[in-house]
Subunit: 190 residues, 4 copies
Amino acid sequence: MRADARRNRERITTAALRLFAERGPEVSMEEIARAAGLGVGTLYRHFPDRRALAKEIAAVTLEDLLDAARAAIARDAPRWDVLRAMVAQAAGRPMSLLKSLLEAGDTETPRLRELQDAYNASLTEVVRAAQDEGTLRRDLSPDQVMGLFNLALCRPGARADDAVVTVVLDGLRSRGDAAAGTGQVRVAGR
Amino acid sequence: MRADARRNRERITTAALRLFAERGPEVSMEEIARAAGLGVGTLYRHFPDRRALAKEIAAVTLEDLLDAARAAIARDAPRWDVLRAMVAQAAGRPMSLLKSLLEAGDTETPRLRELQDAYNASLTEVVRAAQDEGTLRRDLSPDQVMGLFNLALCRPGARADDAVVTVVLDGLRSRGDAAAGTGQVRVAGR
Amino acid sequence: MRADARRNRERITTAALRLFAERGPEVSMEEIARAAGLGVGTLYRHFPDRRALAKEIAAVTLEDLLDAARAAIARDAPRWDVLRAMVAQAAGRPMSLLKSLLEAGDTETPRLRELQDAYNASLTEVVRAAQDEGTLRRDLSPDQVMGLFNLALCRPGARADDAVVTVVLDGLRSRGDAAAGTGQVRVAGR
Amino acid sequence: MRADARRNRERITTAALRLFAERGPEVSMEEIARAAGLGVGTLYRHFPDRRALAKEIAAVTLEDLLDAARAAIARDAPRWDVLRAMVAQAAGRPMSLLKSLLEAGDTETPRLRELQDAYNASLTEVVRAAQDEGTLRRDLSPDQVMGLFNLALCRPGARADDAVVTVVLDGLRSRGDAAAGTGQVRVAGR
DNA sequence: AATGAATGAGACTTCATTCAT
DNA sequence: GATGAATGAAGTCTCATTCAT
C-alpha cells in the first residue's frame, strides 16, 4: 500500500472513531468522509461498505482495549483495580458501535470474532480472579459483566468517573467486602 | 368513534408499543402498520405524523408507569421496595422511546410534559424517602437515579430481574445497609 | 330520487361551486364534503369520481351562464352591452375549473359538450352581432373571445369591474368606435 | 464544478424551465428528473429541495427578462414599443411559476427579491414614461399593468403575438391615441 | 342511504452505494 | 487512486377512491 493510501486510511479510521464515539452508530458515510477531509469514493475504496467500516472501527477499538487490558493485567495490583482500569479505558470509545454490531450478531467476521474472543478471555480472566480475590460479586458471568460495562459506557459523553459508572461499579462489588462503595458520586444539579 | 376505528387504533398502539419496545424508536411507520395488519394511511388517519404516534405511545406508557408507581407508593412497604417495583414495572416498556423524546426536548406537548413531571415527582418522592430510610445511597439526585433506570431499562429484552437491573439496583443500595445485595443474578450462558 | 338525496346533492354542488370558485380546481374531495356538511362517501355516492363532480359543477355553471346569456340576448340593447353582461355574469364563478376541464380536453362527456356548444353558439351569435354593429373588433373568433373572458375571469377574487376586466373589455372594443374606452379603471394602491 | 455536473445542472434547469412553462408550477420532481434524463437523487444534489429549484428557475427567468428589459429600455424607441418588447420577451417563460412564488410570499430569498424589485422598477419606469408619452392609458398603476401581463402570459403556450396578448395590449393603449389598435389578431380556427 | 375509516399509489426527500471523470 | 456526481431504494406523508359499519 502506498504511503498516501495508508495516510488516507488512517484519516478515515480516526474520523470514524471520533464520530462513532461522539454521535453514535448512525453517522452518515458522507459525514465521515467529510470529517476525514476526503471524498466518499475514497472511503469506499478502503472499505467496501458501511458494515466493513464499522467492523474495522470496532476491531481497532477492541485492539486498543485489549492492549490496555493486557497491560493492566500484567501489573501487580488487585484485580478489582484492573477491572476499573478496563472500564476507564473504554470511556470515550465508540462502545455503542460495538454494542450494535454485537446485537446484529455477525458470525462471519473472523477478525472481529477473534478480538471479541480475546477480549472476552482477558475479561473473563480478570473477572474470575476478582471473584476469587473476593472483590467482584460471584453471581455474574464475564459476559454479563461485559454487558454491564457496555451499558455503563454506551452513552454520549460517558466518563470514567460519572454517576452511572460509579453506581455500576458499586453494583458489581462483592457484598461481603467491607471496603465496598467508597466511591462517591458527585451530585450534579442535572 | 366507530367500533372498528377504535379496534384499529388499539391495534396500532399495541403494535407500536411492542415494536418500539423491542426495536427502539426508529421503527418505520410502514412496519408498524404492517404489524398492526393495516395500511399506512390508516396509521396517518389516527396519528397525524410519526411524532404524534411516538408521543401517544410515550404518554400511554407514562400513564401506566405513573399508575403503578402511585399504587406502589400507597403501599405500606419500605421505599426501597417501591423503587424496585417502579423499575420492575418499566421493564419491557418502550423506555428508549421515552428517552429519545426527552432528548428531543419537545416543549410543546403539555400532556406529555405533565406526565413526565408527575412521574419525576413521584420518583423524586420515593428517592428522597428511600434515602431517608437509609436504603438508597445518598450521593445521587433523583435525576441521576432516573438516568440509571433509563440506562438499565433501555435495552431490547430488558427484564425486571436480569443481571443488569440487579447490578444497577445493588449499586444504588446504601452501603451502610447490612441487608444489601441479597438479590442473586442468575448466571446465564450468554 | 328521495328528497334527502336531492338535498344532499344540492349541498354538494353548492359547496363545490363556492370552493372551486374561491380556491381553484385543486380543492380536495374531503374539504368539499366537509363544506357540504357530509361525509366523503356521500359525495362519492352522488359523483363517481372527482372528474364527475368537476364536470357537474362546470355544467351547472355553464347552464347558469347560458340562461343569463339568453336573457341578455333577448333584451333590446346594443350587443356590446350583452357581451359585457355575459362577462359580468361569469365573475365569481369557478371559471378556472371550466378552463382546466377545457384544457384537459375531455371529448367523452356529451352533456358538457352540448352545453359548451350551446354557450359557444350564443356567444358566437353575440360576437358576430357586436362585430356587425361595429362595437367589437372584427379580428377575433368567438373562441378567442371566449378565451379572453376565461382569462379575465380565472382569478381568485375577479370582479366584473376590476382593472383586468376593464382593460380586456377595452381591448376587445372596436378601434373605429369613438365611444370606446369610456370605462375608467380605479387606480388601486395594490 | 466538474464538467459532467455542470452539464447535468444545465439539463435540469433546461428541463425544469420547459416543464414549468408548459405545465405550470406543479410538475413533480420525478418528472423533471426524467425529462432531464437523470435520477431524482441528482436533482436533489443540485437543488436541496423543490423550492430551491423553483426559485432558481424563477431567478434565471427574471434575470433574462431584466436583461432584455434593460436592453429595450436603452433603445431610442417609443416607450410603448419597449412595453411590447417586455411582453414579447416574457412569452413562453414559466410566468405561472413566477406568479405562484410571488403569491407564496417568500421573504427570505434576497436574490429573488432583488430581481423582482429590479424588474418591477424597470417596468414602473417604462409604464410611467409610456403614460407620459401618451401611449399607455393613465388609469392604471404599474402593479396593475404587471398583473395584466402576468394574466396575459400565465398560460400554457402563450405566444407574444397571439389573440390574448394582442387584445390585452390594445386594452392598455391610451384611448386618445389615434394610432391605437393597429395590431391585427390572426383569426385562428381553434 | 350515509358515514367516515381504510387503502395504497404517488409525492418529496435522504443516504448507502456505484461510477464517470 | 481520488473525487464527488449519479443512482435508486426506502422513509414520511397526502389524498382520491373503496368499503365496512
